[in-house]
Amino acid sequence: MPKQLTVALAGNPNVGKTALFNNLTGARQHVANWPGVTVEKKEGRVQFEDYEITVVDLPGTYSLSPYSLEEIISRNFIIDEKPDVVINVIDASNLERNLFLSAQIIDLGAKMVFALNMVDTAASRGIHIDQKRLAELWGVPVVPTVANRNQGTKELLAAVVRTAEARDPVARHIHIDYGPDVEAVLGRIEKVLAADPQWSDEHYPRWLATKLLELDPDAIQRIQRFADRDAVMAQVEEGRRQLEKTWGEDATVLVAERRYGFLGGTVREVQKEELAKRIVLSEQVDKVLTHQLFGFPIFLFFMWLLFQMTFTLGELPMNWIEAGVAAMKTGVRSWLPDGLLRDLLADGIIGGVGSVLVFLPQISLLFLGISFLDDTGYMARVAFIMDRIMHALGLHGKSFIPMLMGFGCNVPAIMATRGLNSQRDRILTMLLIPLMSCSARLPVYILFAGVFFPRRAGQVIFGLYLLGIFMAVLLGIVFNKILLKGQEEPFVMELPPYRLPALRGVLVHMWDKVTVYLKRMGTVILVASVIIWVLGAFPKNPELAARFQQERDNLEASFVQKAKAWQGREDFAALCRNLEKEKEAALAAMRQHQQAEEMRQTFIGRLGGVLEPLLRPLGFDWRMSVSLLTGFVAKEIVISTLGVLYEVGEVTEAAADSLQQALKNSGLTPAVALGFMVFVLLYTPCLATVVTLWRESGALKWMLFAISYQLTLAWLAAWVVVKIGSLLGLG
């Protein structure tokens, strides 16, 4: 049995922490969520010397303040799980800002090792760090690394083991010196804390004292169960008053300043910078990419490219998957005897697996693109360029990519909200994404606009897309005001230098998302698809089948009778041929009628009937109600259901005419048709989307909220459209 070690990996965003994690753990990784929240938790294992080391990748943060979920997670992990060693990944070209987090980790009393990363880039920028001196000053072993070329990984592990075994020559615990006046105040708070009989060493007293002085809400929460909490808080208030009187600044600012003062001192002592050697290439690239004039068109081009790559290129493998699933269905149908088992296997299960797999190509390609943009540094520029617009919806510029991808397919789009920094932005973006008209809704518009607005089809369809965007803006403002009030995150964002991404990192990232999708969404979508299939296929109605069989027999018999009467005539053969055609047509009509009747008898059909009165004010008939129900599986299914219910059979591209004809003859008015399109645009997102929304938001309530607000919105909007349309003479 090897000895166990737990190591936490902490660091700022954009310092190569992910690459280092990949180097440390290789393929032995596991992605999950932190308990109760949707922030990704990556864990991996590595054997080193006689240790089995578990590496936990903490979210990338600039600080450990209690204002963001990521920072609370990182901090609580270090405090509560007490990893044996914290590896702090530091960008060597940005020592001062990176050390701010390090100082907070030191305050937590954790054992630490510095991975001084990207030392090569720093050197090329003329920045040289005296690693030995840094280690001495901070009492922390320093290991230089170049993570994207897998350099320094072994040395880092060796330092971790030495530190864990407390035999590293430099490792010792230091105090960040906040200056005599602040230190005196901290000392008094610590004393009151330590005097409490319930005190245990689980909270490092210095950390708690510092945080209390900063009025950190989480730290205040942590002392609630202390008997002496009032005495502690009185001491804190007294200290704050005193410091404010002397310095004219609030203690929070003072602590941050002193911390930076300490860091500044360190940097002056260990860093040598050659004069004015700037990151010329990156700045040149940026001059073009965020240019006042060209920045925007270039940006639009990249977004177009990402969209095309995801959805146009993604359609190829999607078609293969669909063809494969269809072939398997046919295979099962020919292998197994007629019956329930065959239907369940072919239509229920294989169909269900197909509906899970069909999203994989788009998810893979989208995340391939996103992690490429992320790793090059362009993602921060996307946020920079689009923030003005997204801010109007109460969102961060980073929400633009998920929203844009919504026009292709809502499922990968909602998954793409993982790149957003705050839980609030993630939820709001997820709620608005379904208003982006996905490609599955387009066939419905094409059909209805083609039939009822033949000369203006293009304008009508364009109008629907705009309506979706308009609703997103409107609801973005409403949700901001009511639902997620006052939680807007600071935008403050680093614009990292441009870099060439490492292929391996991009691929690992993509693979992570695919496994997350299969594990978290796949099973739920599969089960739900099977349930909906059951609702659409049952109850079987043997009487109905028997009645139709009887009618078919009668029909055949009547044709045989006719043929018999003509026997002996010289044009008998020609007559029979005509008669045969007539019979086929009559049988086909009967089959279609039977299909429609059967669908009407299933649970979904009956439910459609029950719901019809609700939709009657909009002018929708029962057929449209049922098709909206089946459209929950996937919105394009609205069309095939309408095909069945209007008794025109399978709607293929060639046979779309017959459905168009049927709709023309159905007595629907253009106003109602327009209302129906608006309803399809806005009503509940499809099954896979709501499942993704549920799993990604981490709460069933958001899924239920999304479904109900969209149904309400769709009804109201469709009602308004139908009424106004009728007034304008479209009735």
Partner: protein, 82 residues
């Protein structure tokens, strides 16, 4: 020299942080990112749509919305050679 807000800097200008006003997470975040008293900040450029803007502080680039840059008061504003 008269006090200026960070948001009032034009590209190519720089100033020294005198005070960060405001409260709560906003200010905390600005402090954490190194925008403390005495630190020099240079304005690089605005985004194509006018907001946010890019600044350089302690050798790295940071983007702030106008409303956030309003919270940072500067002294010693000067032109730097672009």
């Amino acid at each position: 020299m008269a006090q200026k807000k960070l948001s009032e800097l034009r590209p190519g200008e720089a100033g020294v942080v005198e005070r960060v006003v405001g409260t709560g997470p906003f200010r905390q975040r600005l402090l954490e990112m190194g925008l403390t008293r005495g630190v020099r900040v240079a304005m690089e450029k605005t985004a194509p749509l006018g907001d946010p803007a890019e600044y350089v502080v302690k050798g790295y680039h940071i983007s702030l919305r106008q409303g956030e840059a309003d919270l940072i008061l500067l002294s010693e504003v000067e032109e730097v050679a672009g």
